[in-house]
């Protein structure tokens, strides 16, 4: 494992997180792109107002090649990618026994979880 000459942080961790970010971004853009193509193909007016977010319908929409399904999946992938990056860093810091940074990562994930809980609690 290559170490960071300054801080002893393994270069592998930076690299893994970089690849995760790039992969997540490309996947989300691809899904959003497919959704946009389906929207054009089905002559849906983008300014007519999209359907509300209903998690239970997303997979069904994807299976039936509906634009909204791919769009919601792409949006979820985009929003989840940074949190996945923090989770990957958490694993990396735990493996290295860096408790303070691991706690920081846990706290970030806790704030993200709190935003889900608060938004759901307040309703649309």
């Amino acid at each position: 494992m290559t170490a960071d000459p300054q801080r002893g942080l393994p270069a592998d961790l930076d690299r893994s997180i970089a690849r995760l970010l790039t992969f997540g971004t490309y996947v989300s853009v691809a899904l959003l792109g497919v959704g946009a193509v389906l929207m054009f193909a089905r002559r849906i007016a983008p300014l007519a107002g999209g359907p509300p977010f209903q998690p239970e319908l997303v997979l069904d929409d994807v299976v039936h090649l509906r634009a909204a399904g791919f769009m919601w999946l792409g949006l979820l992938a985009a929003i989840a990618t940074p949190a996945a990056r923090v989770a990957a860093a958490l694993v990396g810091f735990l493996r290295r026994g860096e408790r303070t940074m691991a706690i920081v990562a846990v706290l970030i994930l806790a704030v993200i979880s709190l935003s889900v809980v608060l938004a759901q609690g307040l309703g649309a």
Binding site: D4, P5, Q6, R7, L9, D14, R15, I17, A18, R19, L21, T22, T25, Y26, S28, V29, L32, G33, G35, A36, M39, F40, R43, I44, A45, P46, L47, A48, G50, P51, P52, F53, A67, M71, G74, L75, A78, I79, T81, P82, A83, R85, V86, A89, T100, M101, V104, A105, I108, V111, I112, L114, S115, V116, L118, A119, Q120, L122, G123, A124
Partner: protein, 274 residues
């Protein structure tokens, strides 16, 4: 169909401009959606946050791979930007729309003035000074020292935390990445070199924007039909911008951009008082 194409092309233009001038696409997406398409500001901010996440993801990956971004410092500060974004995301649904429009107009004027004044040159650290500092940091086992990097020592972490909260609130209210606050705080206050501050800010944008994007998503503030073509356009515009940036005379572009910002600010003010 035409509206969808305009969203893609508009997104591309915002991504291209933002990338060439190092501002990110968010600053132009909100005016595009509100002033051109007459969408509510909250919807525009929700869409802009998604665009900001998508554009920052790819570039943050590159910065990390090249080891320019400081992962540890970024994670410590993004804890505070996430808290600010959470608060800002909740406040955005309470504040009247014209207040947000006024804030956005003020932000545009601030950016225009900052661009007119130009950036201060980065102070150079001599080689001997850099070596001494590296040895000093290596000998220091404090948490703050563990956040420092090659040739610089992080200082005023408390100010950095406060600045990060402000960046998070601004991002969530106005749909921008928050780099306008984070980069100066890291560079001027915390002593982080500009290149590292910019890369680290870019890394932090993802968590900052996603903390509030979740609130927008679950409270019906993101329209998928608008967000998808716009985000795809911004992504490709930003990618193109990063490839051609070295061939473009940024001085002319900067002047044009300042004019656009001031005009947009005026339009936003008129909308706020309408």
């Amino acid at each position: 169909m035409i509206d969808g194409l305009i969203l893609i092309v508009g997104g591309m233009a915002a991504g291209l401009f933002g990338s060439l001038l190092g501002l990110g696409g968010g600053l132009l997406i909100v005016p595009l959606l509100t002033l051109v398409f007459n969408l509510p500001l909250l919807t525009a901010v929700g869409v802009s946050l998604v665009c900001v996440i998508v554009t920052s993801g790819a570039s943050a990956g590159v910065y990390l791979e090249r080891r320019v971004a400081n992962l540890r410092l970024g994670m410590v500060l993004e804890l505070f930007t996430a808290v600010g974004a959470l608060a800002g995301g909740l406040a955005a649904f309470i504040l009247p729309e014209n207040v947000l429009e006024l804030l956005f107009a003020a932000l545009l004027v601030y950016v225009a003035v900052t661009m007119l004044r130009g950036r201060d040159p980065e102070p150079e650290v001599g080689e001997a000074e850099s070596d001494a500092m590296a040895a000093d940091i290596a000998a220091d086992n404090s948490f703050r020292a563990s956040l420092s990097g090659p040739g610089y020592r992080v200082r005023h972490l408390g100010f950095g935390a406060v600045g990060s909260v402000v960046a998070g609130v601004t991002s969530a209210l106005l749909g921008i990445g928050g780099g306008l606050v984070k980069v100066p705080v890291m560079h001027v206050v915390m002593g982080v070199p500009l290149r590292v501050a910019t890369a680290t800010s870019n890394l932090m944008i993802g968590i900052t924007a996603s903390a509030s994007a979740i609130i927008y998503l679950l409270r019906g503030g993101i329209d998928p039909y608008v967000a998808s073509p716009t985000a795809v356009g911004v992504f490709f515009g930003a990618s193109l911008g990063s490839r051609i940036a070295h061939r473009i005379d940024v001085k002319i572009l900067r002047g044009l951009f300042v004019a656009i910002l001031l005009y947009t600010s005026w339009q936003m003010l008129q909308r706020a008082f309408a």
